[in-house]
């Protein structure tokens, strides 16, 4: 199977930094659909009378087929590598079909001990794999558990293909009239099919909708009776043809105009949020930035831009720009720009959204706006900028590039000076933890499968992130409890590539779904979890202390309700009890290198490993 993600399409470089125009356009056009939708993998997998390119409609004549076997026939073409499951009676038909009809292969069942784990694993998995996994959960009680993970995926523009077992002809406490209703405010599409034919059409549509920009979770409620029915012999069933959508690319005239704005700008800055969705996207952003010698500010919701690139800037630089181009960054506001500066945007946000949850923030008052998929639009924008950039501007472009590089150098030195403060202290300095880890992973093929905004961003500041799979970005919703299971999902996607997965794990987030440990051990998902154990919900402690101080009241009591101490949690013991290699608590910096070495050895032998590192709060 060809990897649809993470592989930049062939581009013929004619010399440093330039691309042969014709091959460039060809490559850009070719990537469009495939990279956006994971279509390559989908098409490559469909067999049995299905042509390469798009899946053809297939007719099946029943020989007394079980309904759920047919459902799997339909889902086969979506090539789900995994299906997370928390078992329940209303999906017994489907589960049995996966086990015996599919042989537990494509999809392979992954046992989650909580439905939030099942969906959040799908979230992390997509951010490495570029295609969704399926999650099979109980439509009533199970979906209630899963809800926050669905919301996080929605906010993060991540498709998870959610199947709900339900029973509509037998009202009881676990059956529900309209199962997907509970998450309709934060999913893109859902259906509750009434017949197998209806299921087939909706199953393919759900995949298509989920994978079209803006990508999002979808839900199918699958009735128990439908799963368990026997299709009468001789009855014909159809698997509808699936045609992946090419992603919406920016209107050529608008792209031309935007290129002119960029070329004319004195000090342009790119703001990037969920801009790249593959290695190709990352490389396009680098190419555009280098072509213009524009600064780049990254909120790191995706692995958009290399962490050590000299054009990487901090948000304060927006104030110096005369033009900011926001790439899938719909909340960047004019108030962060200097007066008179222009704000342009390419974003898919307005192509689809929901209204009830205010994840969208304030309306972005941009001066020029293209509603499109960023990655699909960048090739033509790069091409236009290259065409329009006059020779006479070259030296000015070079000079501003040097200015950005100098700012970047100063920022990095300042960070290193911060990192050195308290270098030898106990509990551990979080910069020290990140640096000690980097020392031992930097020559390996690694992937940070957690958020990078914990531990005061030290991993992002000190490590050399330059590949799309180096980082899965942040959580989307900022809902605590996302990180632990999402990291296991991302590690699951990385497993076949043999990448060393690192999870920097906050203690508070961890304790929402500690059973995730068991899932990783049971399914032999190797990864190294390093605790940011400050024995607290420290973000909240900071806020509450501040509140007390502002009210001239007792600050010393403000751990009440926010500490995770007394008793201190034994994370290493907990991990060992669920099949992990674990060490800790580790409080002294001199104990770190040996512990990291032993833990990596365990991971490289196929076992997940945890280090309980006791740290400063931030």
């Amino acid at each position: 199977m060809e990897q649809s993600d993470n592989n930049k399409p062939e581009q013929k470089k004619t010399d440093e930094g330039t691309v042969d125009r014709r091959s460039f356009i060809k490559a850009a056009a070719a990537t469009g659909a495939a990279l956006a939708t994971g279509a390559q993998s989908l098409n490559a997998q469909v067999s049995g009378g299905i042509a390469a390119g798009v899946a053809e409609e297939v007719e099946i004549v029943s020989d007394g087929k079980h309904g759920s076997d047919f459902m799997m026939d339909v889902m086969k073409q979506m090539d789900f590598e995994f299906m997370t499951i928390n078992t329940h009676s209303d999906s017994a038909g489907l589960q049995e079909s996966v086990i015996n009809y599919m042989g537990n292969v494509n999809p392979e069942l992954i046992t989650g001990l909580h439905e939030e784990v099942c969906v959040a694993m799908g979230h992390g998995y997509f951010k490495i794999e570029g295609k969704p996994l399926a999650a099979l959960i109980y439509g009533s009680v199970g979906l209630q558990h899963a809800a926050m993970a669905v919301y996080s995926a929605f906010c993060d523009r991540v498709p998870v293909y959610i199947l709900l077992g339900n029973q509509r002809n037998n009202p009881n406490s676990r059956s529900v009239q309209d199962a997907p209703a509970m998450v309709r405010d934060f999913t893109k599409w859902d259906d509750s099919p009434l017949t197998l034919d209806h299921f087939a059409k909706s199953a393919v549509r759900a995949y298509s909708v989920a994978m079209t920009t803006p990508t999002m979770p979808v839900v199918l409620s699958v009735d128990k009776k439908l799963q368990e029915m026997i299709v009468p012999k001789g009855e014909k069933l159809r698997i509808p043809k699936y045609t992946p959508n090419a992603p919406p690319a920016g209107d050529p005239n608008a792209v031309r105009e935007l290129a002119k704005m960029l070329v004319d700008a004195e000090f342009p800055v790119l703001g990037v949020e969920r801009a790249a969705r593959s290695q190709a996207g990352l490389e396009y952003i680098v190419e555009l930035a280098e072509l213009l010698q524009a600064g780049v500010v990254d909120t790191i919701q995706r692995m958009n831009f290399p962490s050590r690139h000299p054009l990487l800037q901090e948000p304060g630089i927006f104030r110096q720009a005369d033009l900011v181009l926001a790439l899938e960054m719909p909340m960047l506001s004019h108030t962060r720009l200097k007066e008179g500066a222009k704000l342009a945007s390419i974003s898919s946000f307005d192509l689809f959204t929901r209204s009830n949850y205010w994840h969208f923030g304030n309306y972005q008052e941009s001066d020029f706006s293209i509603a499109a998929d960023v990655e699909a639009t960048l090739p033509s924008l790069i091409e236009e900028v290259r065409r329009q950039l006059p020779r006479s501007k070259r030296s000015a472009v070079r000079v501003r590039g040097e200015k950005f590089a100098e700012i970047n150098r100063q920022n990095r030195e300042r960070d290193k000076a911060f990192a050195a403060n308290g270098w030898n202290t106990s509990p551990l300095n979080t910069a020290r933890v990140a640096a000690e880890l980097w020392e031992q992973i930097k020559h390996k093929d690694w992937s940070l499968v957690s958020r990078s905004d914990g531990m005061s961003d030290w991993a992002w500041k000190l490590w050399d992130f330059n590949k799309y799979y180096h980082h899965i970005g942040q959580s989307g919703s900022v809902g605590v409890g996302y990180s632990n299971p999402a990291s296991v999902g991302a590690a699951l996607a990385n497993r076949k590539h043999g990448r060393l997965c690192i999870n920097l794990q906050n203690d508070g987030d961890f304790m929402f779904l500690p059973s995730t440990l068991w899932t990783a051990a049971h399914h032999k998902i190797p990864m190294l979890t390093v605790m940011h154990n400050n024995r607290a919900y420290n973000q909240e402690i900071m806020l509450i202390s501040r509140m007390a101080a502002l009210r001239d009241r007792d600050v010393s009591r403000c751990t009440i309700g926010s500490e995770i101490n007394n008793p201190a949690i034994d994370f290493a013991g907990m991990a060992r009890s669920m099949g992990w290699y674990a060490e800790g608590p580790i409080e002294h910096p001199s104990d770190l290198p040996g512990a990291i070495k032993r833990a990596i050895a365990a991971v490289e032998s196929g076992q997940p490993a945890l280090l309980d590192t006791i740290t400063h709060p931030n």
Partner: protein, 121 residues
């Protein structure tokens, strides 16, 4: 045992305990008290246990080499930026602030980043 003597014995024992107790308290150095005060008064939540600075954009290092004890105390009572104001003696006594200062002064200086191989890769 003489019953009349019992109250005296208890009185003496209590006095002894109190005195040794007080002595123990007094035996604690300003540095030791300061280390505890950083936790008690929640400074650590933002600045870290050794006040080396928390998140770079949240709380800076308290640099006692550049800051006098008076300046640190004055700033704590009436800070700028996002630092919460500890305006009253009830919120943090002057003595605790002096102890914290003494503790921070007593800490060995951090190495320079240029001298740390891990920060020069």
């Amino acid at each position: 045992m003489n019953n009349k003597k019992t109250p005296w014995l208890i009185f003496n024992l209590v006095t002894l305990l109190l005195l040794t107790g007080i002595q123990v308290v007094q035996a604690q150095t300003a540095e030791e008290r300061g280390k505890q005060a950083i936790v008690t008064y929640m400074c650590y939540g933002c600045h870290g246990f050794t006040a080396d600075g928390g998140q770079t954009d949240v709380a800076p290092r308290i640099n006692v080499d550049r800051l006098s004890v008076e300046a640190m105390m004055a700033y704590t009572r009436n800070p700028g930026g996002r630092m919460p104001p500890y305006r009253t003696e009830e919120q943090i006594p002057d003595q605790a602030l002096r102890d914290i200062y003494a503790y921070l002064k007593s800490l060995p200086p951090s190495p320079k980043w240029q001298d740390i191989p891990l920060l020069n890769d």
